[in-house]
């Protein structure tokens, strides 16, 4: 991992949210570096804070909800946490773009798709209406939408889910961002369409040389896409490393359990799954020590007392565990 000059670097990032149930520590001390052009897979179950982390980077959490925002978000020589709303607006869509999970609700239902792409172009690149229109058609073409010129005057509800997700990608790519954050971009799609969208993301990333943060709950998706993987649990990153090494040799028991609990195509039928008992903690009142300890087969007394810090463990790997699994394939 090239830590010398990262594109994005998070230092002890904290986002606490105000909710009816109390203060939720959705992101609670995340430190992470991402180099230009690399792909990071951010993996975790629902409620682990991965989407809040993504929205925090762009400052998209409403003030009404975000109770406490701590840490640093270094990007292009600035700290986005300390930037004004006006400064952030110049970064959003221009340098960091984002794709959301649900293509059905993420496009404005009353606007045609062409104009929805044009607005980013006109806002950030100052293009005139006719230029922007041409560029929008070109972008629709690039993301694999057939008959792009006709589709540009369609409304979102006239397109299929896969097509809408392509439109979202076109909007995100419009200003050639340096970083693309894709929050569960294929979760709502059928598996054959998911494969198409992943192909498209990979192809566009390679062509534009942008960095990609791919947020997903599906370890299979990151296996094929990411250079490195960060596993999140209960608001923290518990393990981080190069994809192949991490998947082959998870050190943190949660990573290992996550890998074993999902059924695989390569296993024979009726293979007994190793389920993780219990459920993730409520982040209003997280456990004192390691947050995975109550569900962990390897936990001992010290795990429940003191939270482990995430530490370097050689060859670009980091994990947070007092009693890590041994390296099996080393």
């Amino acid at each position: 991992m090239n830590i010398a000059d990262p594109l994005l670097s998070l230092r002890d990032l904290k986002s606490y949210l105000r909710t009816p149930r109390g203060l939720v520590r959705a992101v609670d001390g995340v430190t992470l570096d991402l180099a230009a052009g690399r792909t990071l897979g951010l993996v975790g179950e629902s409620g682990c804070g991965k989407s809040v982390l993504a929205r925090s980077i762009l400052g998209l959490l409403p003030d009404a909800i975000l109770q406490k925002a701590g840490g640093e978000i270094r990007f292009g020589g600035r700290d986005l946490r300390r930037s004004t709303e006006a400064e952030l607006r110049k970064v959003r869509g221009r340098e960091i773009a984002m794709i959301f999970q649900d293509p059905m609700t993420s496009l404005n239902p009353v606007l045609k798709v062409g104009p929805q792409i044009e607005q980013a172009l006109r806002l950030h690149l100052g293009l005139r209406r006719t230029e922007a229109r041409e560029r929008a058609v070109d972008l629709l073409d690039q993301v694999g939408i057939p008959a792009a010129r006709q589709r540009a005057v369609s409304y979102p509800h006239e397109l299929s889910g896969g097509m809408r997700q392509r439109v979202m990608i076109a909007i995100a790519l419009a200003c050639d961002p340096k970083l693309l954050i894709a929050d569960e971009p294929t979760t709502a799609l059928d598996v054959t369409v998911q494969a198409q969208i992943l192909d498209l993301l990979q192809e566009q990333q390679a062509r534009r040389g942008m960095a990609l943060i791919l947020i997903t709950h599906n370890l299979g998706v990151v296996a094929g896409m990411a250079d490195e993987v960060a596993v999140m649990y209960a608001g923290r990153i518990v393990e981080h490393g190069p994809t192949a090494a991490l998947l082959a040799d998870p050190r943190m028991p949660y990573t290992a359990a996550l890998l074993r609990s999902a059924p695989r195509l390569s296993d024979p039928p009726h293979t007994r799954l190793e389920a993780i008992t219990g459920r993730p903690p409520v982040l209003v009142d997280p456990p004192a020590g390691c947050r995975f300890a109550p569900r962990c087969a390897r936990s001992r007394e010290d795990c429940r007392r003191e939270p482990p810090e995430i530490e370097e463990a050689g060859t670009g790997r980091r994990f947070a565990c007092w009693h890590p699994l041994e390296l099996a394939h080393a």
Binding site: L17, S46, G47, A188, L189
Partner: protein, 288 residues
Amino acid sequence: MTLSVAERERIKVVGPRRRWGDLLVALPAAWLGVAVLAAVFAPLLPIPDPFRQALLRTLQPPSAVHLLGTDALGRDVFARSVLGLRVSLVVGIGSVVFGLGIGGTLGLVAGYFRGRTDLWISAVMTVILSFPPLVLAIAIMSYAGPSLALVIVALGILFVPAFARIARANTLSLAEREFVLAARAMGMRDLGILMQEVLPNLVAPLIAYSMLMVAVAIIGEAALSFLGLSVPPPQPTLGGMIAAERANLLEAPWAVFGPALFLFLTILSLNVAGDQVQRRLDQREAAL
């Protein structure tokens, strides 16, 4: 494809602080409690006789004897307002119960059985809704003559479509829920499903809505009595008192604003309490 369960449990923005919210329920509830008690026990209250005229003591300003002064015929405004409030509450609650009973049942049936039943019920509702509500009430009252029961029915008819709509919409979405399908899959009959599975889920939204509708009904009664189309004299009504005394607005504002205050506080209390109940229901709904 549906969103995951956890996705739906997505964090919601919080409402106003709890203490403030409690106060917003307590104060209106207190006023409504006092108003209902006063209306019920009006004859027993230590207040002047609301019907006694005193032509030498007309348009007296508020005093220890006459808390809200006297009107153009020298009658005690406070005592008459209490009696007027009695009419407002009886009509308000009565017409909403009428609308809730008929509209709620029709909506439930239409939403559950759909098809032709729904079509016919909806058609009838559309026709009722084709008249401006107050004009329909005025028309009914003008042809049939004023009486308490008739005011209740005339206003109650106006609420039938509203309750039918709410009951129907809720039933439609409930009937889509898989627990209704599960009940049918275990062999439960339609009546059982309606009473045991659907109805319990309708109670809360209909109750919250009812409180708001009582407020609307009281406004409707006030408008009718302002036009002289509600309960006939000598029974005082708040709207009638205001209409009669507005000629003396400058000299004796208390004779107008006294009953107006009763009217306003009662409607406001119903609206505030209804909003709070509604909000809590929504929050509970969101937490599900």
